[in-house]
Symmetry: C2
Subunit: 446 residues, 2 copies
């Protein structure tokens, strides 16, 4: 008999079906055994009636056992219908159970609020909880929507390398790799230089890249390995064209998850993002500082300021998104284009979402001589950038782009407290899957 | 004036338009200057007529200069039409040229057949050649088609980590990373253990992951960082269900590139893959060895055997794809399911394509006790797999999956000689973008 997915059982009233899945709950009630069975499509209640030949096996089967079940789908009597619940109007009368895999008793209380360490120590198991399942179902949808929006807007995907040469831009924040022949390589902190190279060929490109940060930060916003969604585009007039594409992407992403996954937002207990009909609000750094009433001498916004300006945007503009522009050039990466009329301010921007910077972008320098000069001014050696600089020496169009952190976007989309909740297998100072030897979990700061 | 993409010029006869792009070719002819302009959508010929005010700038503009050009689109007289060439029936009369970026003279002969080192030394520039551009346009399409096929078949994407703990499965082939607090981490050689964990939650998952191989191999098939396209699925009866999904994926991929990119195959000079109407041929290792007339004691196929059996499949079955099954269990990874009726042979399989293994897969062990026993038999310590083993201890469904190397697939799809031609920024023993210090390019074996 073919497997029927649990979400399809409502169409099979009166029929004998086979389902496969996990035992989500088992309840004994007199001479009957009730189960909630779970597969990737949903949940259904099953019952072993007194005298059923499945009862013998049913007694053995506990929570998280993997089973193949045959049974008859019944409509529930009106009084037993559970409104608003998947399959709340049907029940599966279990005729037989095959045990595909046994399960030990779960090592934590599956219904409790778990602290972060427990959540991560038992990640393969805590992922089975509806809330955790939902987070990564939504994350997959975010990636897919982001990609589809860029493809629709004429962008081509490419694969950026994660292993980079030993003379990259970074410094202390870079992980070192023992390469061949006693050479040292680095793990990429960004696909930036490669996407610029690609822009000099394909004009509009994007990549979904693994990047690595050796920062000794233990905040709710930091992880050591992350997924960066980057795009870059050529033949722009200025950074506003990049911001326009990014805004389109974010609108597409929100529209997509809203139409397909509103139930997951409800499950996680979060509101859908507020997207204004008008364009996303844009503030210069100075304007933002004036609104907040803080010093206009600061070269950047503090985390508390990011939260403050997002509250303002939500209240005044009905938007969970707000762009900040005109950061001082010296505070941005070396390839950032200076705004000629507003120097020493740059053509860089950040996109804040629900209190956090989730994207950073800019128009980039495309002139070879200017770029070389900037590298030198920052105390770096252009020789170490020779491969990258080729693209500029031989004809590079004006271009710009930006970069979204997938985990931060997921975190804020679902209003989670810690970016690690939005990372399947987060790496940090103290953890790669399990706590590392010699680290004391009591000292982890969250 | 808005930019018009070059591919759209044929619809603008008689109009004044603006294009932006690179100078692909410049030819002086008497008092006229001819250009081929190139943007991401194609090429068009432009001409500066005698007396044109653009002529002054035109004289300055050389190959690879980035320009913004205004001009009038003319239909060519019948005798000058170049049949079968994009925009072969039109010409742009150049009215003005703005130089957006200058270009030095190219450091290699752009029309020559380049050796591999030159191709890679100047990758940002050699990518501008039609052949190289085509390879990575096609690669983007392969990834997209692969992903779409799996999504259509009910698979969910996830992000697999690239940094893994210090006690992974691998050995000599693993790159070491200096992690925090004098700990050592490794670079993942595969997302295998993570996709199995995910299968225990979401049933059908895929990931497009960066993996790393520290093998000291300098063949035409090896690179040190690669893109692996993996899927894994639960509630299978046996490995044939995995093979069926994979076959669907390959058919979707070929159908997709065939319909959209037949011209790129022509440009690279390759035939489209031969896909049989009948299912892909399946041979056991023994059957393959008997066809080849080689020893049936060998536990695997040599590269020459893989080529031989692919020639057979092409000739006898009209297929560029052929599955090989029933490899000895001890030659496969520890988690490979043994075929009870045909022990010591396994439920593993390889998919060969045009002479090369591009995919390897299997049904996996899902029973906790069997898996622990197998880990011990292989001389490894189950304690080091504690995180992974959680998934199995608490109820894991029967499952299987497989893994396709994107670069190898691209290489064989376009019949390239070396996998590095199918890798944007290949890393190997001697190269990360540029040749590494202390390596002698004369010694690179290809």
């Amino acid at each position: 008999m073919e497997r029927t997915m649990i979400e399809g059982l409502g169409d099979r009233i009166g029929e004998t079906v086979r389902i496969s899945g996990w035992v989500d709950v088992r309840r004994d009630q007199g001479k009957m055994v009730f189960f909630d069975f779970r597969d990737r499509s949903g949940r259904v209640q099953g019952v072993c009636l007194p005298g059923s030949s499945a009862l013998e096996t049913a007694k053995e089967v506990g929570k998280e056992y993997v089973v193949r079940v045959e049974g008859v789908v019944h409509k529930r009597p009106e009084k037993n219908v559970q409104e608003g619940k998947q399959n709340g109007d049907i029940e599966l009368e279990v005729k037989s159970i095959d045990i595909l895999s046994r399960a030990a008793g779960m090592p934590f209380d599956t219904d409790a609020d778990l602290n972060l360490d427990t959540l991560l120590d038992y990640r393969p198991l805590t992922l089975r909880r509806p809330r955790e399942r939902a987070i990564f179902t939504l994350q997959a949808a975010l990636v897919q929507a982001y990609r589809n929006s860029l493809i629709r807007q004429g962008f081509m995907e490419f694969q950026a390398p994660a292993l980079v040469g030993s003379d990259a831009e970074g410094g202390a924040e870079v992980f070192r790799v023992d390469y061949f022949n006693e050479q040292t390589a680095n793990l990429a902190t960004s696909p930036q230089l490669y996407k610029q190279i690609m822009t000099g060929v394909y004009e509009r490109v994007f990549t979904i890249a693994r990047v690595f940060r050796a920062e000794k930060s233990a905040t709710t916003r930091h992880i050591s390995e992350l997924t960066q969604m980057d795009f870059e585009m050529a033949f722009i007039e200025d950074e506003q064209e990049v911001m326009f594409v990014l805004e389109e992407v974010m609108r597409d992403v929100v529209r997509d998850v809203q139409s397909k996954y509103a139930d997951l937002f409800a499950l996680v207990g979060t509101d859908l993002p507020l997207v204004p009909e008008a364009p996303f609000p844009i503030l210069t750094l100075r304007e933002a500082q004036e609104i907040l009433g803080v010093s206009t001498d600061d070269p950047d916004l503090e985390p508390a300021h990011e939260r403050g300006i997002c509250e303002w945007a939500q209240r005044e503009k009905g938007s969970d998104f707000v762009f900040i522009t005109r950061f001082p050039t010296h505070k941005r990466s070396f390839y950032t284009y200076e705004h000629a009329a507003e120097a020493p301010h740059s053509r860089g921007f950040d996109l804040l979402f629900r209190g956090l910077e989730i994207n950073s972008g800019a128009q980039r320098i495309h002139d070879y001589d200017v770029l070389v000069k900037r590298i030198e001014e920052r105390g770096m050696d252009p020789k170490n950038f020779a491969f990258y600089l080729q693209a500029f020496k031989y004809g590079m169009p004006p271009h710009g782009g930006c970069s979204t952190g997938l985990e931060r976007l997921t975190m804020k989309m679902l209003d989670l407290d810690n970016v690690k909740e939005a990372t399947l297998f987060p790496r940090d100072m103290n953890r790669i899957d399990v706590l590392l030897h010699g680290t004391d979990s009591g000292n982890i700061k969250e």
